[in-house]
Symmetry: C2
Subunit: 394 residues, 2 copies
């Protein structure tokens, strides 16, 4: 397990307090990050239905999942083995049986089917069909939306979680250095991606890396006009701008990092854009401290870059930490207009003020924690446009 049992118990206690305040007696958790956060469960089994059941007046959670994954739950969680309940394999991707029917049956058997039951309505791993089957199977329950209930417990990290994110940052620095060093005219994009993956997963001599929740994003040339393209097996050309967004990951905790490289002298407009973004990024980091609202950081950004004429209409960043594919973000606080979240010590964000225009773009980002009086940036990596061909770089 990644943490001692007492840390898991503290998390359960905080979750139960939120449940109580929202009138939820039984919480069905399908978000793999929330399952891991409360039980330690860690395996690539989230492609089938599984859940953790938190009952407000019971000591331990119940894990329900596919039969062949039950031993995985025994190995990775702090739960009593009798709280690990496997469902038979004919429930898997079947057109006649659904795992949520099994869940409803279990809740009936243990007398929890007439209570107020929270479900994560907006989670990748709780489909529309899951909800329909639960509604049908639990006619006497009061189903309530508990989206993000546990995610909000996750927002403030413990010191041990911060330590894990710092280890992830050591990996992110190595992976970014590897990426920037490998990008040259004539090199295939896939070979750069492969070296980044190698570095992410091997980690450092002292500790290994885990798989990040998002693969390296590596748009190049005109494709830098959009952030979420991966790589091809084409070769870089002289003049190409290349965006690298990646993360280090340690025991499912992330430190994302983005930088931009130009192969040869950048065009004036790429250079100008990089100056704007880096100035704005620096100003935002300077503004972070407890008591500030997320929307106030966005306002600092907007006022700092106003003179450039550039307008960024997408959010500047988001809370992150523990996660599984497809996203390392926590889906809670965002650094954007209208977000009234008040910054507190040990909140952790990825601040990524990328700008994507018609045929080019630029990204530079930092992951940080809020400290007692400011912020601590996790990765130590030069905050600049990197230019490849002997001009600068590290």
């Amino acid at each position: 397990m990644s943490f001692g049992t007492s840390e898991y118990r503290t998390r359960i206690q905080k979750t139960k307090e939120r449940m109580a305040s929202e009138g939820i007696e039984v919480l069905l958790i399908t978000d793999p990050a929330n399952m891991n956060y409360l039980s330690g469960y860690d395996g690539w089994s989230f492609y089938v239905h599984q859940m953790l059941v938190i009952i407000i007046d019971e000591d331990q959670p119940i894990w329900i999942g596919r039969g062949q994954d039950a031993n995985g739950a025994k190995v990775t969680t702090w739960l009593y083995h009798e709280n690990i309940i496997p469902y038979p394999d004919d429930y898997v991707q079947s057109d006649t049986k659904h795992p949520m029917d099994f869940v409803a049956d279990i809740l009936k058997q243990i007398g929890q089917d007439k209570r107020s039951i929270g479900v994560e309505m907006e989670n990748y791993y709780f489909t529309a069909k899951c909800y329909e089957h639960l509604k049908k199977g639990l006619p006497n329950a009061k189903l309530k939306d508990a989206t993000l209930l546990v995610n909000w417990v996750r927002v403030i990290k413990s010191d041990e979680e911060i330590e894990y994110m710092k280890r992830a940052a050591r990996i992110a620095e190595k992976a970014m250095e590897t990426g920037i060093k490998s990008i040259e005219a004539g090199v295939r994009e896939c070979d750069v991606a492969a070296k980044i993956f190698y570095t992410q997963v091997s980690g450092t001599e002292k500790f290994g890396g885990d798989y990040p929740a998002i693969v390296p994003l590596l748009p190049s040339g005109e494709k830098t006009s959009t952030p979420h393209l991966t790589w091809t097996d084409e070769r870089y050309k002289a003049g190409d701008t290349v965006i690298l967004e990646l993360a280090g990951c340690y025991k499912r905790y992330h430190s994302p990092l983005a930088r931009t490289v130009n192969i040869g002298t950048p065009t004036d407009k790429v250079k100008a854009l990089s100056d704007v973004v880096i100035e704005g990024l620096n100003a935002c980091l300077d503004a972070v401290k407890p008591g500030v609202l997320c929307e106030e950081i966005e306002e600092v950004w907007r006022k700092t870059i106003e003179k450039s004429g550039i307008i960024k209409d997408s959010r500047l960043g988001y809370s992150m930490g523990l996660n599984y594919p497809p996203d390392w973000g926590e889906h809670t606080a965002s650094i954007r207009k209208g977000d009234k979240t008040i910054l507190e010590p040990n909140m952790t964000f990825h601040l990524i003020p990328g700008i994507w225009l018609d045929d080019y773009g630029f990204e530079a980002s930092e992951s940080f924690r809020v400290t007692e009086n400011g912020c601590e940036v996790f990765a130590k990596f030069p905050r600049q446009l990197f230019i490849k061909d002997g001009l600068l770089t590290n």
Copy 2:
């Protein structure tokens, strides 16, 4: 794009035929593999809501997604740019606005909101909340479950798709060879995983690799009692059994492959289990040909291994090919009791008769296509228990 426009048009036509037979006039596709299959769209943007809209009497699909991903849709799809409709960023992970409200508004604007509308109820990327918002936003529509409608179109592959899966198999062979060669007592699990990732993504000299939909699964020692654990930074010990399940991936098409390695002489029970699984696997492959039902392959397995006393209660395999995380399986045909799918040429399966017992397990698998009179196994890789320390291996 991975295919010519005519292949995409053929796929759209087949999809419309299924829509017609199920009384669906408008199909909202949220499965990223189905989106890719019909439009070419390829980007790691599925962590926010996006969809492809197929209208039965319109020539082209409509792509709806996040603003910053619209340029990605322009780069990777065959769609007219006016059919690419971005939503503003304040719909992203917001507690006041939902992207499905935007989708409902668009359907109203184009006069499609009073029709029979299919949604993929059982898909990771169509949450319970998506459905609730669509129901509210489209009061005059008749919403129908269209789960797997496009997945079933995908079941029979074109020759070009088969060629992509063969390329994926070349990568899988290299990745498996790398993994088996790297596993030694004293080596960290993460370093083996890192080398596998490197090989998967760099691919071959002729073509690069794409990211598989599942990371390498590498349970070792007692953890081989369960299939879906990944890796740690601990070191392998002499005597450890190690399961490797991985895939090669080319342009989102997969060829999965599993093998098991023993560091030093295996115990008698591991050796015996490997003999059972490999005999059963061989018998199943021999039984594959057009006209046979999926459940008949399972029956061959059961009768072949009956004498061993081992019972496998989980499915033996599944249709697969094009996909995105978290699963490379297509969620259509399964090789198991009760599955009446009739095998046809160019159906493609991953046959993975893994056995996981109380404290050990064994996996060996093959990906294959059904041919005119039998089956063609994609990867050329010895089908055996690998024993590391000069005894055999390749």
